[in-house]
C-alpha cells in the first residue's frame, strides 16, 4: 500500500504523474483508441470521433473557466469562428488544409482578444453575459458577411488530404481527431504545471492576491482567452469537417451550455474531469435512448420526434443534479472511490 508521497525536488512535484501504472494504462488506452476505429461500426465510430472533437473543445473551455475562473457562455462563438475560418480558407479559396487549420487557430484567438479586452474589467456574471452577447454578435456578423460566408446557406467542407494522406474515410478522420485531441491534452497538462498555468489558477483563486504576487492580470487573462479560443477554434474546424457542412444552424447556443455541462459533470478545473465529462455528456443521450427502448419499446419513438429537446432536458437535469449532489464532479467521485479503496476498512 502506498502510504504517502515523498517529493524531494521541484521536478518531482510538477511531474505529470509519479506512477508507472498511470503511464502504463495511458499507453494501453492510447493503443486501444488507435486500433478501435478499425473494429467499430460506422455508428459507434462517429461517437468516438465526436468524443475526441468535443474533448478538445472542453479542454479549451477548461483553460478559461476551469483554470482561470472566467465564465464563458460564448464558447460556441469561438467554435463557429474556427469552423468558418477553416471552411472559407479551404473550400472557398482552395488553400491547403494546413493553412486552414492555422487560420482556425489564429482567427478565434484574435476574436478572443477583441472580446477579452472589454471584458477585463468585468467579473463573474457580467463576463458571462458579455461572452454570450459576443456569440450572438458573431452569428449576426457571419450571416451579414454573405460574400465571404454565403450567409445562411453555409459552406460545404470536404475531408482534407494532409501530406498526401487522405482522411476521406471515417477511420483516417478519427485518427486525425485523435492526434489533435492528444495535442490539446498534452498542451493543457503542460500548461497547468508551468508558470502560466499556476498564474491562471492564482487568478481564479484570488485575483487581488495574484496581482500582489506580481501577476499581470490583464495580460494573463487575455492569454487565457487566446489559448482557450485557439483550442476551441481548432475543435470547431474539426467539427465543421465532421458535419461536412458549416452553417450558423450547425452551431446552436446549446453547444455553449453543453461545454459548461461537461466541465461541471467532470469536475471544474480538472483536465481529467474535462475528459470524463466529455465521455459522459456525449454518450448520455444515446445511453438514455438505449435504456428507454429496453424498458419500453414505445418510448423510443420520443427520441425520433423530439431528440433535440430531450437532449437539452437531459443536459439541464445533469447540470442541476451534479451541482446539487456531486459539485466536485466525476473526478471528485473517482478520488473518493480511490481513497475508500486504499483505506478500507478504515474511514481515513
Amino acid at each position: 500500500m502506498r502510504s504517502g508521497t515523498y517529493k524531494e525536488t521541484y521536478a518531482q512535484l510538477v511531474a505529470l504523474t509519479d506512477s508507472r501504472l498511470v503511464w502504463f494504462w495511458s499507453a494501453v488506452l492510447l493503443a486501444v483508441l488507435f486500433v478501435a476505429p478499425y473494429y467499430l461500426n460506422a455508428y459507434a465510430l462517429s461517437f468516438l470521433t465526436l468524443i475526441l472533437i468535443t474533448a478538445m473543445g472542453a479542454l479549451g473551455l477548461n483553460i478559461l473557466t476551469g483554470f482561470t475562473g472566467l465564465i464563458s457562455l460564448g464558447q460556441v462563438g469561438f467554435l463557429v469562428t474556427g469552423a468558418y475560418a477553416y471552411a472559407i480558407a479551404v473550400s472557398k479559396f482552395g488553400w491547403s488544409p494546413f493553412a486552414g487549420f492555422l487560420l482556425a487557430a489564429l482567427v478565434p484567438a484574435v476574436a478572443s482578444l477583441i472580446v477579452g479586452a472589454p471584458s477585463l474589467r468585468l467579473k463573474g456574471l457580467y463576463l458571462a453575459i458579455t461572452t454570450m452577447a459576443f456569440s450572438f454578435i458573431i452569428n449576426s456578423v457571419i450571416l451579414e458577411a454573405r460574400s465571404l460566408t454565403n450567409g445562411a446557406r453555409g459552406i460545404r467542407v470536404r475531408h482534407p488530404d494532409l501530406l498526401g494522406v487522405g482522411t476521406a474515410g471515417d477511420v483516417a478522420f478519427s485518427h486525425l481527431c485523435l492526434v489533435f485531441a492528444l495535442a490539446a491534452l498534452f498542451a493543457t497538462l503542460n500548461l497547468r504545471r508551468s508558470r502560466v498555468g499556476r498564474a491562471f489558477v492564482a487568478i481564479r483563486d484570488n485575483d487581488i492576491a495574484a496581482r500582489a504576487m506580481g501577476i499581470n492580470l490583464q495580460s494573463y487573462k487575455l492569454l487565457a482567452f487566446a489559448t482557450s479560443a485557439t483550442m476551441t477554434g481548432l475543435a470547431g474546424a474539426l467539427y465543421g469537417i465532421y458535419l461536412s457542412f458549416v452553417s450558423v444552424e450547425g452551431f446552436p447556443f446549446l453547444l455553449s451550455i453543453e461545454a459548461l455541462a461537461i466541465l461541471i459533470v467532470g469536475g471544474l478545473g480538472s483536465t481529467l474531469g474535462a475528459i470524463l465529462g466529455t465521455v459522459f455528456i456525449v454518450l448520455l443521450p444515446e445511453a438514455t435512448r438505449l435504456v428507454f427502448s429496453a424498458v419500453s419499446g414505445g418510448a423510443g419513438g420520443l427520441f425520433t420526434t423530439g431528440g433535440q429537446e430531450l437532449k437539452s432536458i437531459l443536459y439541464g437535469l445533469v447540470i442541476i443534479l451534479f451541482l446539487r449532489f456531486q459539485p466536485r464532479g466525476l473526478v471528485g467521485a473517482w478520488h473518493d472511490l480511490k481513497r475508500a479503496w486504499v483505506n478500507w476498512p478504515l474511514r481515513y
Binding site: 465564465i71 457562455l73 472589454p118 471584458s119 474589467r121 468585468l122 463573474g124 456574471l125 457580467y126 458571462a128 453575459i129 458579455t130 454570450m132 452577447a133 459576443f134 450572438f136 454578435i137 449576426s140 450571416l143 451579414e144 487581488i208 446549446l254 451550455i257 459548461l260 455541462a261 461541471i264 423530439g306 433535440q308 429537446e309 430531450l310 437539452s312 432536458i313 443536459y315 439541464g316 437535469l317 445533469v318 447540470i319 442541476i320 451541482l323 446539487r324 459539485p327
Partner: protein, 290 residues
C-alpha cells in the same frame, strides 16, 4: 417622420415587454444576488398556460389573467423551493449554472407539453388596431406600456414603504445582518421569485396578445438582458426604463440599418454599456475593498 414615429411607438411597446422582464431579473438579483437565466422561459410558460386557459376554460380577460397570475406565483414559488433553495450558500457560479440548467429544461419541455407551432392568444380585446393620427397601434401595446408604468410606481412604493420591501432591500444590502435582525432570508427569496415570475408572466401575456405564442418566445429573456444591464442589475426601476430604451434602439436600428442589426443591437449595447458603466445607468457602483 411618420416612419420614424411608427418605429418609435412600436419600439416603446416592445421595450415595455423587455422592461417588465428586466424588472423580474432585477427583483431576483437584488434579493438573491444571482442572475436568473430562466426568466425568458418562465415568461413563455406563463403565456402558454394563459393560452391553455383561454382555449379550454374561458376566453374572458379577467379569468385568463387571474389564472395565469396564480400559475406564475405557483411556478415562481415551486422553482425557488425545489430548485434554488437547496443551493443556498453555494458559490454564485453554481447557482447561476443551475438557473441555466433550469432554462434549458423549461425551454425544451414546451414542445413536449404543448407543441412546436405558433398560436394566437385571442382574448377578444387588445388585438384590434387603434389609429391615432397616422399611427396604428394595437390595444395591447398601449396596455403594456401602461402596465409597465403602473408596476414601476408600484415597485417604487413597495420598496420604499412596505415592510417586505424594506426587508428585501436589507437582505440585498447585507444578508447576514438582515438575518440577525430577524428577517427570514428564504422567505424574502421566495417572494422575490414569485414577484419576478408574475412580472415576467404579465409581459409574456401582453407579448402573446400583440404578436403570437411560439416555442422561441424564450428569446425575450435574452433581449431583456441588455435592458437590465443598461438600467443596472440591482435597480428594479432602472431596468424598467432600460427596457424602453433598448426597445427603441432596437427598432430604430432595425428600421434604418436592416433587420440583421436589429437582432444584435441590444447585445452590442450590452458590450458598450459594460465598458463604460459596468454598473448600469441607475445601478450602484461596486466598491471593492481589500
Amino acid at each position: 417622420m411618420d416612419y420614424f414615429l411608427q418605429l418609435a411607438v412600436s419600439g416603446i411597446a416592445i421595450g415595455a415587454v423587455y422592461g417588465l422582464l428586466a424588472m423580474g431579473f432585477a427583483a431576483i438579483y437584488k434579493s438573491t444576488g444571482l442572475v436568473n437565466f430562466a426568466q425568458g422561459e418562465i415568461t413563455m410558460i406563463v403565456a402558454y398556460i394563459a393560452w391553455t386557459i383561454a382555449t379550454t376554460v374561458s376566453g374572458n380577460v379577467v379569468v385568463v389573467s387571474a389564472g395565469a397570475i396564480a400559475a406564475a406565483v405557483v411556478l415562481g414559488l415551486a422553482i425557488e423551493r425545489i430548485v434554488m433553495r437547496p443551493m443556498l450558500g453555494e458559490p454564485v457560479f453554481s447557482t447561476v449554472m443551475v438557473t441555466i440548467g433550469l432554462a434549458v429544461i423549461l425551454r425544451s419541455s414546451i414542445t413536449f407539453i404543448w407543441d412546436a407551432y405558433p398560436h394566437a392568444l385571442d382574448l377578444g380585446t387588445g388585438r384590434g388596431i387603434i389609429r391615432i393620427g397616422g399611427l396604428g397601434v394595437r390595444g395591447a401595446q398601449i396596455a403594456v406600456v401602461g402596465t409597465l408604468l403602473l408596476l414601476l410606481a408600484g415597485f417604487w412604493l413597495f420598496f420604499r414603504y412596505s415592510k417586505f420591501g424594506v426587508a428585501m432591500r436589507a437582505v440585498a444590502a447585507d444578508d447576514r445582518t438582515a438575518l440577525l435582525m430577524g428577517i427570514s432570508a428564504s422567505r424574502i427569496h421566495a417572494i422575490a421569485w414569485a414577484a419576478s415570475s408574475v412580472v415576467a408572466g404579465i409581459a409574456g401575456i401582453f407579448f402573446a396578445i400583440s404578436y403570437d405564442l411560439s416555442p422561441d418566445m424564450y428569446q425575450l429573456g435574452l433581449k431583456a438582458f441588455p435592458a437590465t444591464i443598461l438600467g443596472g442589475l440591482d435597480s428594479v426601476l432602472g431596468s424598467g426604463f432600460g427596457g424602453i430604451l433598448i426597445g427603441l434602439t432596437e427598432n430604430l436600428a432595425g428600421g434604418y440599418l436592416g433587420s440583421g442589426v436589429k437582432d444584435v443591437a441590444g447585445f452590442v449595447m450590452i458590450v458598450v454599456v459594460l465598458m463604460i458603466r459596468p454598473f448600469g445607468l441607475f445601478g450602484e457602483r461596486d466598491i471593492e475593498r481589500v
